[in-house]
């Protein structure tokens, strides 16, 4: 029983981190039809923002606060300089953002070196859950993720900005003809999606080794979550991440991490074969 509870907590942790990364990807893909291959490096930049702040003598919390802002700003610049010039050429967006991901990774290697960095864990305490000690910081990560998911849903389903963004996603030309500035929305949503990934990188930094490859470990499950969950609805990554993250943590614990990879990929293939539009496409319509 206790074992199962801890396992569920671990799974939720992984799931929520995937959701943070995947949601930004889905928003950008839905609005601009751009598959952002550099999203993992955006995650990376969030973590390195914290490293930089700590190096300069700042506290972790300052880094956590700055990371989404800095990375969101990077998103704005990237959108303006790269993405907006290619967003109507689908294949080119993949190549351009892939190139961007290599460039960011190398820039990080030049600036910080290839070795891994550690970020201090700001809440080192543990809490006893059913007699087993559980790190409080992991609970904090979950709280952050749940809040961010809540804010994103509120933004997209309860505000005028969200209505306009969903309008652009559904029919770009018609939305523009109704007076909606689609360029401005592109810019804002790209920056918002980047900021989400940056925040994810920063909040995960204390429990990971911060190195130039860390983005990949989240980008792949995030892409899988979108494929399994469906890109047509904001709830898609939620369902997909639950399926991917849950299966992965459970199998890895009961068996081994290698078997978990096999099971997760097999499940993804089966789900995509049965529901080409993803789980959300199956249950929520469009």
């Amino acid at each position: 029983m206790e074992q199962l509870f801890i396992l569920t907590l671990d799974a939720s942790n992984f799931i929520l981190a995937i959701v943070l990364v995947a949601m930004g990807l889905v928003i950008i893909f839905g609005l601009m039809n751009v598959i952002n291959m550099a999203h993992g490096e955006v995650f990376l930049l969030g973590a390195y923002t914290v490293v930089l702040v700590e190096r300069a003598g700042g506290h972790f919390w300052l880094g956590l606060l700055l990371a989404p802002l800095v990375v969101g700003l990077v998103g704005l610049v990237v959108e303006e300089l790269v993405v907006r010039h290619v967003y109507h050429r689908f294949l080119d967006t993949i190549l351009a953002t892939w190139g961007l991901s290599i460039a960011i990774k190398q820039a990080v290697v030049i600036a910080f070196g290839p070795a891994s960095h550690t970020v201090t864990n700001p809440i080192a305490a543990s809490i006893e859950i059913f007699g087993t000690p559980y790190p409080v910081y992991r609970l904090f990560i979950m709280a952050v993720a749940i809040s961010v998911i809540g804010v994103t849903f509120w933004l997209f389903f309860r505000t005028a900005f969200g209505l306009a963004a969903r309008g652009v996603i559904a029919n770009r030309d018609m939305a523009a003809c109704l007076g909606i500035d689609t360029r401005r929305l592109d810019r804002l949503t790209f920056a918002y999606g980047a900021a989400l990934a940056g925040l994810a990188g920063a909040v995960m930094a204390p429990i990971m080794s911060v190195d130039p490859q860390m983005g990949l470990g989240f980008l792949i499950p995030a892409f899988l979550a979108i494929l399994v969950g469906g890109a047509g609805h904001l709830a898609g990554p939620l369902l997909g991440a639950a399926a991917i993250g849950g299966t992965d943590t459970l199998t890895a614990n009961l068996w081994s991490p290698v078997v978990a990879q096999i099971v997760v990929f097999t499940m993804a293939i089966v789900v995509i074969r049965l529901f080409p539009r993803g789980l959300a496409g199956r249950w929520l319509g469009r």
Partner: protein, 233 residues
Amino acid sequence: MLTIEGLEAGYRGSRVLNGLDLEVAEGRIAALLGRNGMGKTTLMRALMGLVPVAAGRVVFQGRDIAGLRPYAISNLGIAYVPQGREIFADFTVEENLRLGLVGKPGGAGAVPSAVYRHFPILAERRGQKAGTLSGGQQQQLAIARALVGRPRLLLLDEPSEGIQPSIVLQIAEILRTVAAEDGLTVLLVEQNVEMVLSLAADCAFIENGRVVARHAAAELARDREILHRYLAV
């Protein structure tokens, strides 16, 4: 209020409009008639900035709007009801109407009650998904969505397409009332002669991307020969 001079526009490799001239006077309902493929829809899309203008001028209230982006044209006071309606099927009726407002300067407010007064069926269905409405109701929604932003000029592309004749006349009636109340100027593109004659004051005929004739609607109602000349296949 709208003067189009020597407008040339089209798609890659094929020019559809070949020096089109047209004038729509303030507060009038003008109709543009012509057979399929003559450039009616391309004209509407060029006016909205959806099709690039290659040459010529589009002067709206004294300002050349050729080359502006669609959202800027919309915010100057031109609203567009496209062919096939293009309503947001997965959104509720009310969300569709609010989408006509959110892009307008300072326009995140509620849907004006006058719109629901003119289109009572939309008030009744306001919480319903727009995709579940009948064709005639969807057309009313598309028109209402264009009107919520209080435009000065309304561009209507084939509003009668795929709608029962009785509903067509009903929609024409609503449009006449709205236009008279708000002093709205309308440019209508239509194949349905009954709708044109019941609504428009001025008519122009388009052929191969040019306006080839102009007549008052009253004249056309008396002499159907003219219609036959330009519309018969």
